[in-house]
């Protein structure tokens, strides 16, 4: 009877620990699923714009100095991205170490939109007109080394 009782003790311990492991695994799985869904949720972008240059671009610097001096963007931090529908995107940082995103219309030498926001604020700019329908916007969002572009139509129309 001694042998049998020690082996059933071991069984009970194994059962209990495997239940605990199952419970812990379940908690982790649920939390992982939820956080993943949140972080990737959102509509897919219409375009993903890659970085193309980090060389100084004098016209862009001049535009920023004239139109958005209060942002205090650090000129040497500016990086240029592929264009999208008449818009040229540039990213950089300002004197407060905030990431910045700028959309310029080179043809008219105009800063269409510019924004700097301290982390962890999501960095984006919206542009209007310049080749898109009235009431529509393009939302450019900086994600890591890329800029995502999404065309937003009024009233959800596609």
């Amino acid at each position: 009877m001694g042998d049998k009782s020690s082996s059933v003790d071991a069984d009970a311990r194994k059962t209990r620990w495997s239940l605990v492991a199952l419970l812990v695994g379940g908690v982790i799985a649920v939390a992982a699923v939820v956080t993943t869904v949140i972080s990737v949720s959102g509509p897919r972008p219409d375009a993903v714009l890659q970085q193309v240059t980090d060389e100084v671009d004098v016209p862009v610097i001049a535009m920023l100095a004239v139109e958005e001096p209060q942002l205090e963007i650090v000129v040497l931090s500016l990086r240029g991205y592929e264009p999208y529908r008449e818009m040229e995107l540039w990213s950089g940082v300002n004197d407060y170490d905030s990431p910045c995103l700028v959309a310029v219309h080179r043809e008219t030498q105009d800063v269409v939109a510019a924004s700097c926001i301290p982390s962890p604020g999501e960095l984006y700019v919206d542009t209007m007109r310049h080749g898109i329908p009235d009431g529509a916007r393009i939302r450019f969002t900086l994600r890591g080394d890329e800029v995502e572009a999404r065309l937003l139509m009024p009233d959800g129309a596609q």
Partner: protein, 276 residues
Amino acid sequence: MAGAPLSADAENELRLLRARAYSAESDIQDDPAALARLAELEAAHAAALHGVAEDLPAPAPDASRSHDPFPAERFGVAGLVAGFAAADDGPHESSVTVTGVPDTKSARAVAASLRDWLIATRSRRIGLIAGAAVAVLVIAYAAVWVVVPRPDATLRPVDALPDSQVYRLAAFAEVLEMDTSTLRAYETYRGVEPWSTEDRYGNPCLFVIEPSSDNLLGAVCTPPGAELYADIGAWPYSADHFAEGLPAGTVIRFHLNGNQVDAHVYRGPEMETESE
């Protein structure tokens, strides 16, 4: 080390006594001799089946719970019953441990007893599943709470009517073509007043004014499908009052979130000396 199987007579007697004990019209409580005999037979039956003393007695026997088909419960009840009987009759020849938790088997007994108790009846199984579902929801809610940033302030709608200052300041954003006939007001934050409306294309709009400095701080209209934010910055040398006490470079993001406006403060770097 299995015990000898019960004789056919003993099995019959056990069946009859069980019927008396576990039926809805149980009368066995008034018959201590029958109780004692039932305990003996149950113990012998258990020994014959399992060869070891049976589990911990279950919680106090409930005569009304008689339609439970789960045998372990009965052995538990028998254990308790045997305990009552043994207390009256002195030393008892039985392989059931009548005083409660057997020392050498406490770990197994607790685990098995809990498991059996939890799944014993249908209502408990349903309760177990419901409890697991609640636990999943709590975990999911906690994960969301951790991942999604909480606002510094939640500004609810208020019943304020726009005055002439609001209309005049809103006009500075005429490029947005906002419909100023349907303005909605919200609680203020740091002296900043949020207002919401729509533009002529049906896009929701949010604009923020600072009445004390007579300033339109920001105005935005965004089509559905993207979050509607109006950002204002604490830049040095600006005349805005909301920036008082905030480090330069701070951005306050107002977010039209359903029926409320959330305010998120993204602070600039702290400086050693406060800039004027």
